[in-house]
């Protein structure tokens, strides 16, 4: 079911003006949203205009918020021809062995990922279990009570400037509900949301895992994602009810002129588990700190992230974990690689509240710095307000081990092959948690990037 676009696209663009009330009203009207949501969007717009840009993190001076209307093109309307896609993107697809149909989808050329059969049977399988997996627009339309109950409950528009922007202008993204006790054993991927926009600038995802349920959600891909928009400001809210478990895997490889400023947060109730698996490969600037609020006793949170920063890139990523209940645990593993002038940083916050007795937490940040042109930063803040917490945090920055490099070359490998093998080995503990096809693509991608770097 294709959404019909009846509005005049040109009415959304008044050149030189920032995001205005008219544009927001237009989005809401086109989606035929209820009054409460329009009001929500308008209030968020006011918050967005009011808040200043953050003074910490990456340099956002290249971001032209006054031209924001430019960013409002829905992704599917960018009807590019295959010829217009940059050569290096096409070459990367070839070398990664991406199938034809997928190439067009990834390049934003095809309107849909043509795999109807797979799509239909997946939807049937999920529907049989009572699982809701659709986009945010249909989520609101078909499940208004559920949507209204949780939407904005984890990340309010006042949270930060870009959450406010998303709350005003959001479109697309997933809406997922897993009923009590249901364990969804196939990873839900954004590929299968055929009847909606993908790669949107302001995607809004909401996942509710009811008691005792399990789901693994995967978004993104290792192949470079080509899009004309320069700003992506997504919001992801996850609610993990007692005893449930959610794994959310993201691999981001936006093209290298994009600003990726995303807010992701999960709230976890008693004995629930939340795992963010976060891969950051692309974009010019990424500021993203997957967060977990451990609200119920025995809840657990994990953030596993891998990051690669190359020429012209600044990846300022990390995690924010708040222990607000007793006997909660958390674990963070962050692996980053900086090369060819790239800058990768870990920025983390860990807070243990006074009422959070007997908390255990462990954070490990390892950074590889491959050359003198690149930079690696680590900015953790640990705030402990309870005496029975057991907290461990460690970080290290180093280069590739010369002896190992020498050994591999002595065994006949080219220097670049040896380096890519070692970088893959460095990232392996996290990469092995990815669904296999991603892991394979990722390894190849790293090989390619390493081969391109100065030996």
């Amino acid at each position: 079911m294709e959404k019909k676009r009846t509005h005049n696209r040109n009415s959304l663009y008044s050149a030189g003006l920032g995001l205005g009330e008219e544009a927001v009203r237009s989005i809401s009207a086109q989606k035929q949203e209820p009054a409460w949501l329009l009001e929500y969007r308008l209030k968020a717009l006011a918050v967005f205009k009011d808040k200043p840009l953050p003074t910490w993190g990456a340099d956002l001076s290249g971001l032209h918020l006054d031209d924001l209307l430019y960013y409002l093109q829905p992704a599917t309307s960018a009807r590019r021809s295959w010829e217009e896609v940059p050569t290096e993107i096409k070459e990367t697809f070839d070398r990664l062995g991406i199938p034809e149909a997928e190439k067009k989808y990834l390049a934003g050329v095809g309107a849909q990922y043509e795999s109807e059969l797979v799509y239909q049977s997946t939807q049937q399988y999920l529907a049989d279990q009572g699982v809701i997996f659709t986009d945010s627009h249909n989520g609101l339309k078909n499940h208004p009570d559920l949507f209204g109950q949780y939407f904005g409950s984890v990340i309010p528009p006042t949270d930060n400037k870009f959450a406010a922007l998303n709350s005003a202008a959001f479109s697309g993204g997933s809406f997922i509900y897993i009923p009590k006790g249901v364990q969804v054993d196939l990873p839900l991927q954004t590929y299968f949301r055929i009847n909606s926009e993908r790669l949107g600038q302001f995607e809004r995802t909401l996942i509710i895992a009811d008691e005792g349920s399990f789901v693994h959600y995967v978004e993104g891909c290792t192949a470079p994602t080509y899009n004309t928009a320069s700003l992506h400001s997504g919001v992801v809210e996850v609610v993990v009810k007692p005893g449930a478990r959610v794994v959310y895997t993201t691999i981001q490889n936006w093209s290298k002129d994009i600003y990726n400023l995303t807010t992701k947060r999960a709230v976890v109730y008693q004995n629930g588990v939340m795992q963010w698996i976060d891969g950051n490969l692309g974009s010019r600037v990424t500021m993203k700190y997957p967060a977990i609020h451990l609200l119920g006793e025995g809840a657990r949170g994990e953030v596993h992230s891998f990051t690669s920063a190359g020429d012209g890139q600044h990846q300022d990523v990390g995690s924010k974990i708040r222990h607000l209940a007793p006997r909660t645990t958390s674990r963070v593993i962050s692996k980053s690689v900086s090369r060819q002038g790239g800058r990768a940083g870990y920025r983390g916050e860990l807070y243990v509240a006074p009422e959070a007795k007997e908390v255990k937490t462990n954070v490990v940040c390892d950074a590889l710095l491959l050359d003198k042109a690149s930079r690696s930063d680590t900015y953790p803040t640990v705030k402990i307000h309870n005496a029975q917490a057991q907290v461990e945090h460690e970080a290290s920055v180093s280069r590739l081990n010369e002896e190992q490099l020498f050994y591999l070359c002595a065994r006949g490998l080219e220097a670049s092959e040896a380096r890519s093998l070692m970088v893959n080995g460095f990232l392996e503990p996290i990469v092995k948690e990815l669904p296999m096809e991603y892991a394979v693509e990722l390894n190849r991608l790293i090989q390619m990037e390493m081969a391109g770097s100065v030996g």
Partner: protein, 209 residues
């Protein structure tokens, strides 16, 4: 070729304000400080390591049951072959509030830099507030920089063991706290300094427990 010079500085009560020290080529500096725990004290320490053979060791002792202590330590590596080691121990009881912020920075010229920043904290009451933020900014790939931070309470099993050996609760506690607070003392090479600092630590602990 300059001779190796060793300097040892002991600050019994870190005061409000800041201090900036440079460690030149082949100079070794050992800097030992104790924080004050009355009132609100904000101290900023900056150490610049310039040039081959510069070595810095910082031992920080933060023991208190009251007051709000804020210490920021910046260590900047410039030039080749510099080594820094920061070892900080906090023992917080009562209503003590402590913030320890560190920055280890290696500039582009700091080839073969080695740096470590370790902050270990022992919390003895539920009303203490601790913030630790060890940060790194690294711009040269030929370096080995690490940091570590741990926070915990008294080891209950160790307490029980000592008491089963006949020590009173208070003596057992004092023994464990002293062991914790003095765990970095072996890093001090000069024995005279080591015993002086050990005595200062023990006095502080007695006044806090």
């Amino acid at each position: 070729m300059s001779e190796q010079q060793t300097q040892i500085i002991v600050r019994e009560k870190l005061s409000e304000g800041g201090e900036c020290l440079t460690v030149g080529p082949d100079q070794h500096l050992t800097y030992i400080y104790f924080t004050r725990t009355d009132g609100e004290v904000d101290s900023r320490l900056e150490f610049q390591l310039q040039g081959s053979g510069a070595r810095l060791m910082i031992l920080g002792i933060n023991i208190g049951s009251a007051g709000h202590s804020r210490v920021t330590i910046r260590t900047v590596h410039r030039g080749e072959n510099t080594v820094s080691r920061v070892l900080i121990r906090s023992v917080l009881a009562g209503r003590a509030v402590s913030e320890v912020r560190g920055l280890v920075k290696t500039e582009l010229s700091a080839t073969d830099a080695e740096g470590g920043f370790d902050h270990h904290s022992l919390l003895l009451s539920d009303r203490v507030r601790l913030t630790t933020a060890p940060t790194l900014e690294i711009q040269n790939d030929q370096v080995q920089i690490t940091h570590a931070a741990t926070v915990g309470g008294l080891d209950r099993e160790a307490l029980i063991y000592l008491k089963s050996r006949g020590l009173s609760h208070r003596s057992a506690q004092e023994l464990l706290v002293r062991g914790f607070a003095g765990a970095d003392l072996p890093a001090l090479e000069t024995l005279a300094v080591r015993s002086q600092v050990k005595k200062m630590i023990e006095d502080k602990i007695t006044s806090v427990l």
